[in-house]
């Protein structure tokens, strides 16, 4: 019988997962466009609900932006593992002989490309529409970009834990939002400093540190969480 050993390495297998998820997203764009539309609509609600005084809007812009970003991310995380968990794909990942955490990290990375990255691109535009000066856009972009990496990675742990539940969405928010508070604090602070025209370097460094920390620890925790949910 031909050798049943693995012919390809973990990286090639991870590339295969990324290619598959991108193709699926292309076939069904609703999944990743929804959180983006949610984010845009929520940020647009603030000028309507408050008054359209630019000074007021500029004061609340960082908070409004980041709360909307957090909620949109959690909304997006609900479909990170759900379909693959229900149709048996994650079981096949676990049995592939490839490192499970690497395959799941490939899924999370694709998920970030499809949700985190578009949010980071739209974020500065939303800030400007809330009265932030155009010069603040690089700072806002940096904060949302770094922040969304942590949000996706930490979120993958919560998505793994709630995978086995039929109605995991609400529990996912309750579980995740407290975990995401540090990212919210530093992200909103960086955005605020950028809007005020000050240097946002300090909170951006902290956001970067959070992103690196989640990159090292979250994939292993997520893999364990998914394994427990598969039981």
């Amino acid at each position: 019988m031909s050798s049943p050993a693995l012919e390809i390495g973990a990286l090639a297998a991870a590339r295969n997962v990324v290619a598959r998820d991108l193709l699926l997203a292309f076939r069904r764009p609703g999944d990743w466009l929804q959180p983006l539309a949610f984010f845009v609509i929520v940020t647009m609600l603030f000028p309507l609900a408050l008054n359209s005084e630019p000074s007021v809007l500029r004061t609340i812009a960082p908070g409004a932006l980041w709360v909307a970003l957090l909620l949109a991310s959690v909304l997006a995380l609900d479909f990170l593992y759900r379909e693959d968990g229900h149709d048996g794909t994650l079981e096949q990942f676990a049995l592939s002989g490839q490192p499970f955490a690497v395959l799941l990290l490939a899924k999370t990375a694709t998920h970030w490309l499809l949700t985190g990255l578009p949010l980071a691109i739209v974020g500065p535009l939303a800030a400007v529409s809330l009265g932030a000066p155009g010069g603040s856009m690089p700072g806002v972009l940096g904060s949302v970009l770094l922040g969304s990496v942590s949000l996706s990675l930490l979120g993958s742990i919560g998505a793994g834990l709630t995978l086995g539940l039929r109605r995991g969405g609400a529990l996912l928010s309750l579980l995740l939002l407290p975990l995401l508070i540090p990212t919210l604090i530093f992200g909103a602070r960086a955005t605020q400093l950028a809007i005020l025209g000050d240097s946002a370097a300090q909170p951006l460094y902290l956001l970067g540190a959070l992103a690196i920390l989640s990159l090292t620890l979250a994939p292993l925790a997520a893999a364990t969480a998914v394994r427990i949910s598969l039981e």
Binding site: M1, S2, S3, P4, A5, L6, E7, I8, A12, A13, N16, V17, A19, R20, L23, L24, R27, R28, H86, D87, G88, T89, E91, Q92, F93, A94, L95, S96, G97, Q98, P99, L103, L230, E231
Partner: protein
């Protein structure tokens, strides 16, 4: 060779598997014909590593699989209740991405496997979403034959298959045994596998 020794498994407060043991050599099949709810699926999932047995051992070629899980998984193909196919992808795309986790994929081989499974007449652009349950099972059988795994764990492989589909299943299995593979099959209807050492195990209390 797969050996299971004195396996005890609890699900919640139910003692499901009470000291199950058997050996499965290459070229052999073992058909689990246990009644509903007596732990067929749990036994398969336990060997696949999704469930942890409280007691007992699973040995592959003489060494415990708990210690060599990744190496054991490479030799394993598991076909569960869910066929692990994506509705938005075509049959060949499904094969490409599933097999691509382990092997360099070969388009001609995949086409041939789909043809053997009796799916050649379908539009190649058709997404699996529009397949019937039996056609999906046939795609899963095509994938099974391409995985080059030595041990197959099959959970109700004949479910949803028509007579022609069952013949495909039989032929796929016979080819697998001819290559020296083995299979543990949970099923309600005994499979007809002419010329194959395919023991039938009727209940967990009876000896294998």
């Amino acid at each position: 060779m797969l050996e299971v020794k004195q396996l005890h498994l609890w699900r919640g407060d139910r003692h499901l598997l009470k000291g199950v043991g058997f050996a499965l050599h290459s070229g052999q099949a073992l058909q689990l014909l246990w009644p509903n709810g007596t732990g067929k699926t749990s036994l398969l999932r336990c060997i696949a590593g999704f469930l942890y047995a409280e007691e007992g051992q699973v040995l592959w070629d003489g060494s415990p699989v708990a210690r060599t899980r990744d190496a054991f998984n490479c030799q394993l193909a598991y076909l569960g209740h869910e066929p692990a196919l994506k509705g938005d992808l075509t049959a060949i795309e499904n094969l490409r991405y599933s097999l691509g986790l382990r092997h360099k994929v070969n388009e001609a081989q995949m086409q041939a496997a789909l043809q053997t499974a009796g799916l050649a007449h379908l539009d190649p652009q058709q997404p699996v979403r529009s397949f019937s349950a039996g056609q999906r099972k046939r795609v899963a059988l095509a994938r099974l034959s391409l995985w080059r795994a030595r041990l197959w764990l099959l959970d109700e492989p004949a479910a949803n298959l028509d007579a022609a589909g069952q013949a495909v299943l039989g032929a796929t299995l016979v080819q697998h045994f001819a290559n020296g593979g083995s299979a543990l099959i949970a099923t309600h209807q005994p499979l007809e596998l002419p010329g194959i050492d395919a023991r039938r195990w009727l209940s967990p209390e009876a000896a294998s």
